[in-house]
Symmetry: C2
Subunit: 320 residues, 2 copies
């Protein structure tokens, strides 16, 4: 086992040429005489020479590194994101550095700085703190794209959750559900999924009397909230939209103790099309993650548009 990596210089000496010639043989083969070139190649092979990317990058060669900063690696959705980010990066010859900011603004900033100090060519970020974006924009020239979220004045690629809510609701209405319930966090003003539902109601000329709102604290994720609701209210909706698959799952669980026959008449739509909806066989709104990553990287490298955003349309995966 060689203890040190062989350098261009050493290859050059071995071959009996100057180091510049070795460099040329690699980067501009046509400028090196075939005989020499082949000889150089053979030594490169023999000694497993690999050019030092750090040295190249010092000479102004692009780093070919992409950074991906997510705030959560537990979530199935972000794990898919990683998969495609690596795939797309690799396809265009880039290496992916993955970081988790754990929803911590300070950690997010640290991660950004690490990426900058490693000369990444671009950053995909699911951001935690707008100040960090401001930092990126104002003090660096490294391009970045916000994924899966819309933040004004920054380049974003995200799936329209409003549209998602609308599609889900349209589907239920089209399937003759006369009363529709939304289960999700309604304390927040920006419940876009719910807004999509409202849109659908308006579009279909339905009275909001037929819309049931079930507030669910998604930070807690315990089904007792739902059981409480069902014990206090008569639940008459047959079309149900849950703010995500997990919530839908909790809904199903709490349902089991309340009304079993109901299962047959109702239609449930979740969000994110995770393994949950696929296993439990209910419909779900899917985000086009691969497209999201592709678009993000496309924007990342398109010089001109500094704050162009792209909104993607989600897709309803219909089950049973």
């Amino acid at each position: 086992m060689n203890n040190k990596k062989i350098t261009m210089n050493e290859i050059a000496k071995l071959v009996g040429v100057s180091q510049a010639t070795v460099s040329r043989a690699i980067n501009a083969p046509e400028k090196v005489k075939p005989y020499l070139r082949e000889k150089i190649y053979s030594y490169i092979e023999k000694y497993n020479f690999l050019p030092n990317e750090n040295a190249k990058s010092m000479r102004g060669v692009k780093s070919k590194i992409l950074g991906l900063i997510l705030f959560d690696l537990s979530n199935q959705f972000y794990l898919e994101t990683i998969k495609y980010a690596e795939k797309v990066a690799r396809k265009i010859g880039y290496t992916l550095i993955l970081m988790n900011s754990e929803k911590d603004s300070k950690l997010e900033l640290e991660n950004i700085k690490i990426l900058l100090s490693r000369n990444v060519e671009g950053i995909l970020i699911a951001p935690v703190d707008n100040n960090n974006l401001k930092f990126l924009k104002e003090t660096t020239s490294v391009p970045f794209v916000i994924i899966n979220n819309f933040i004004n004045n920054y380049p974003c690629v995200y799936t329209s959750t409003v549209k998602g809510g609308e599609i889900a609701c349209d589907f239920l209405i089209k399937n003759n559900h006369k009363k529709i319930a939304y289960i999700g966090n309604l304390s927040n003003q920006t419940t876009e999924k719910f807004q999509g539902i409202l849109k659908s109601f308006k579009k279909n000329n339905l009275s909001l009397n037929f819309l049931e709102k079930i507030n669910f604290d998604t930070s807690k994720m315990d089904k007792i909230q739902l059981e409480n609701y069902f014990s206090k209210n008569t639940f008459s909706s047959t079309g149900i939209i849950a703010s995500n698959d997990e919530v839908a799952y909790l809904f199903l669980q709490s349902l089991e103790k309340i009304d079993k026959d109901f299962l047959k008449t109702m239609t449930l739509v979740g969000f994110d099309n995770t393994i949950i909806s696929s296993l439990l066989n209910f419909s779900s709104i899917e985000q086009p993650i691969e497209e999201l990553i592709e678009k993000s990287i496309e924007i990342l490298f398109s010089k001109k548009n500094t704050s162009l955003s792209v909104e993607l349309i989600p897709k309803l995966i219909i089950r049973n």
Copy 2:
């Protein structure tokens, strides 16, 4: 927005000292007079100076980069692996480069070479091709650890699947199941899970007559195989071990069409403790992924042991 990153040299000029002094202020503050030091710091702050890691690495400073090469990023298990690898790496001040070899030997080698050319300090790898390991071992001095697999003569950290099978079977026997079935790929000789079951049978003095083998081609993953089996054979086992949660799920599905009451009497154990077993509420054998990563990185950086391997013991997660 600054168009170029500020360098140490520029900071030095701004402060009115030599570049070496700025370097010292950062790396050996005690060697710089407090007044100057603070002045330098203030400029570093002001201009958001970040040292160029590539340049540092050229001077022999460690890269603080870890590489993680997996052959599949769809699998829930490997996605967990990523999460912990990033976490542990970050905790010890390292940056993680993630790569997918897609079960392709050539791609795996490419990935390895990219990591080497980026001067990674160590590589965690779920390998595809032993030749690539040989390459790593014989032509480089970069330490690497094989995760989640045992390969002779290489440092490995893995969970004993034999033990997993044994634990699962012990559990079923202890819960008075008189006949036990294993569903999984039995065409392969190295079905370690099955070997663990055999061990448990021997240990518990049970005749192998009470062990039912259901061969399941896990590369296909369609439940028709199981339905076929059940239509041809009388299935009398009440303790069932599936080679993983997904197989267990398919088993449950095919069961629905065959015998519903059976559900109450049987006990099912899967592997990997994924969201499937948690949702469908059956027991599962869990791998200690965080420990696996921690051990791997520990071994990676422990100079002396070149081919020390660590076997971890999985844990049974009991449900319903």
